[in-house]
């Protein structure tokens, strides 16, 4: 539904977005993940027709955003929840959107209810809103026209854990009804909770994309962590089978898949009490993928 192909945006000599290509499919929540300044917002601004691309293309449902008539009815966009006139009330912000799109004012009330902004809160001016409330208002604004595509930049920023859970449920059911969602974040655990598919960007370039499992598979070091009632015996059996084994913490780290550890335990007659993959996990992977673009050097032991 969203197709970005070879998108490049340069500001002077600076390549903010460098040959970025990816797709977002209907029925899926696509997470757009990357550290600050990686080019997420610029990419999304190009999608919404606010920034012209230097090269390449971003199309939504086969169209350039600028060619979509009354785009609010087709594509819900939230680029910055703080980009609202602080002197308007929350209800007025939505009313302006609804009037522009030609929707009845009753739609405003529906949306306020949907994002749990109470009538009293809706009467307050945006100046007095917390970031979390602004995000809720921004999501309500994006959903006003009942669009089939949602483009949300850092929508979970400023939400409390309950708010993030609420947004996950909201976007999930939206995708289940056939909607296409692209949401960006610099926080892996937000995206991991909400998204089906991830696109990881660093320094303006795509460094990885795929679902969670295929991203994890990129981690080539297969290892398993196990603890058992007799770690010595388990370690001996694993060594005999030709795997690297080291005693680590409360258990054993083996250079093989968890399945192999299970077989070894069965053969040795050792009772396993814990067995899991020893792979680095998404967070390590994310840091590793975007290492060159991180502002802070996270080399192990740097603080020691």
């Amino acid at each position: 539904m969203i197709e970005v192909s070879g998108l490049t945006k340069t500001y002077g000599g600076f390549r903010a977005v460098d040959d970025v290509s990816f797709r977002c499919e209907p029925g899926q929540v696509t997470g757009f993940l990357g550290p600050n300044g990686a080019g997420k917002t610029t990419t999304m601004r190009v999608m919404a027709g606010l920034t012209p691309a230097t090269a390449g293309d971003a199309r939504i449902g086969g169209h350039h955003y600028r060619d979509i008539p009354n785009p609010g009815l087709h594509v819900g966009v939230l680029l910055d929840a703080s980009a609202q006139h602080v002197g308007r009330t929350g209800r007025e912000v939505l009313t302006i959107g609804a009037r522009t799109m030609g929707l009845p004012d009753s739609r405003v009330e529906e949306m306020l209810e949907m994002v749990s902004l109470s009538p009293t809160e809706a009467k307050r001016r945006v100046r007095n809103y917390s970031l979390g409330m602004r995000q809720r208002l921004g999501i309500a604004h994006a959903l006003l026209g009942d669009p089939s595509v949602l483009i949300l930049d850092e929508p979970a920023n400023g939400l409390d854990p309950a708010g993030i859970r609420w947004m996950r449920d909201l976007l999930r059911s939206y995708a289940e009804r056939g909607g296409t969602v692209l949401l960006s974040s610099h926080l892996l655990n937000e995206v991991e909770l909400i998204a089906d598919v991830m696109v990881v960007i660093g320094n303006g370039r795509i460094v990885a994309q795929g679902d969670k499992l295929s991203l994890l598979a990129m981690d080539s070091d297969v290892s398993a962590l196990a603890s058992s009632l007799d770690d010595e015996a388990l370690a001996a059996e694993l060594r005999q089978r030709g795997f690297n084994v080291s005693l680590e913490g409360e258990g054993v780290r083996a250079g093989c898949a968890p399945e192999e550890v299970g077989r070894a335990a069965l053969a040795a007659g050792v009772v396993l009490t814990d067995l899991r993959t020893g792979a680095a996990g998404l967070e390590d992977l994310f840091l590793q993928l975007t290492a060159e673009t991180q502002r802070d050097d996270l080399t192990e032991g740097a603080l020691a």
């Binding site: 539904m1 499919e25 209907p26 029925g27 601004r45 919404a48 027709g49 606010l50 920034t51 939504i60 449902g61 086969g62 169209h63 955003y65 600028r66 060619d67 979509i68 008539p69 009354n70 785009p71 609010g72 009815l73 087709h74 966009v77 680029l79 910055d80 703080s82 980009a83 609202q84 006139h85 602080v86 002197g87 308007r88 007025e92 302006i96 959107g97 009037r99 522009t100 799109m101 030609g102 001016r125 604004h141 009942d146 669009p147 089939s148 595509v149 009804r177 056939g178 909607g179």
Partner: protein
């Protein structure tokens, strides 16, 4: 939302946002914030105040309806541009342009809508100011002036309508060129207050400059619109055209070109 997951968007059933709706929304945006609403109310309150003062202090033979209309027109002409400036610069200063131009990505249509809204607002305020002028004339009659309801057509058109229309356009030009609320308001006062004073000082010092001034200074060139018989001569119209090109047409063209191109952040 369609139940089946189609990879393309079907736009055939979606008409463009009609211009009347865009203009209506822009008009609403001019008045739905505390700043915009109170500014509009303040302008009208100021017109009212000036009318009352004028009714008490002006000589009896200058208290006809036409005189009151001229006074309210002058006050309006002075402050209308600021209302327009707020309408345009808030898109950048308050960052609402991000939403405005996402809901209507064809920016030129938003520019037209803002013009329509600006002129509608100007007309509404002018009508209210005329009503206040009626009140002022009645007050003057109560205070003993003769009743003179005649209105010079030239005053009505040149001093009231044309001058205010120019004011709206000046507001647009300054706002789009500077795209920053405080800077645009300061710029407007520099243009409308400081510049004419500087020009009149220079003109007083140098008779040669006095001849040149109306050709290069728009405020000076507009004076014949509100003075004398409210009818500029052929040369005065030419001065309006020349100085208007310098101070209005060129800035407006550059400003709109800028509005159509800048990245709203």
């Amino acid at each position: 939302m369609s139940a089946t997951a189609a990879p393309t968007l079907d736009l055939s059933a979606t008409p463009q946002v009609p211009m009347s709706r865009l203009a209506g929304v822009e008009l609403r945006k001019a008045l739905d914030t505390r700043a915009g609403r109170w500014f509009a109310i303040s302008i009208l309150a100021l017109v009212l105040l000036v009318q009352v003062i004028y009714a008490f202090t002006a000589p009896d033979d200058a208290k006809g309806f036409g005189d009151f209309l001229g006074v309210s027109g002058a006050v309006l002409g002075y402050f209308m541009p600021i209302l327009i400036i707020l309408l345009v610069t808030s898109e950048v200063s308050q960052r609402t342009g991000l939403v405005t131009f996402t809901l209507e990505p064809r920016r030129s249509r938003v520019v037209v809508a803002k013009f329509l809204a600006g002129f509608a607002l100007a007309v509404a305020v002018m009508v209210l100011a005329s009503l206040i002028a009626v009140g002022g004339t009645v007050l003057a009659m109560v205070l003993g002036a003769g009743s003179d309801w005649s209105v010079d057509g030239n005053l009505l058109f040149n001093g009231f309508v044309l001058a205010n229309a120019i004011g709206v356009l000046i507001g647009f030009a300054i706002a789009t060129l500077l795209m920053n609320t405080p800077a645009a308001i300061v710029g407007y006062f520099a243009y409308s207050l400081i510049l004419p004073i500087a020009v009149s000082i220079l003109a007083a010092l140098s008779p040669g400059f006095a001849d040149v001034a109306p050709w290069i200074e728009f405020n000076t060139a507009q004076t014949p619109l509100f003075m004398g018989d409210y009818t500029p001569t052929g040369e005065e119209w030419a001065q309006l055209a020349v100085s208007g090109t310098i101070w209005l047409v060129i800035p407006l063209v550059l400003g709109i070109a800028r509005l159509l191109r800048i990245e709203f952040k």
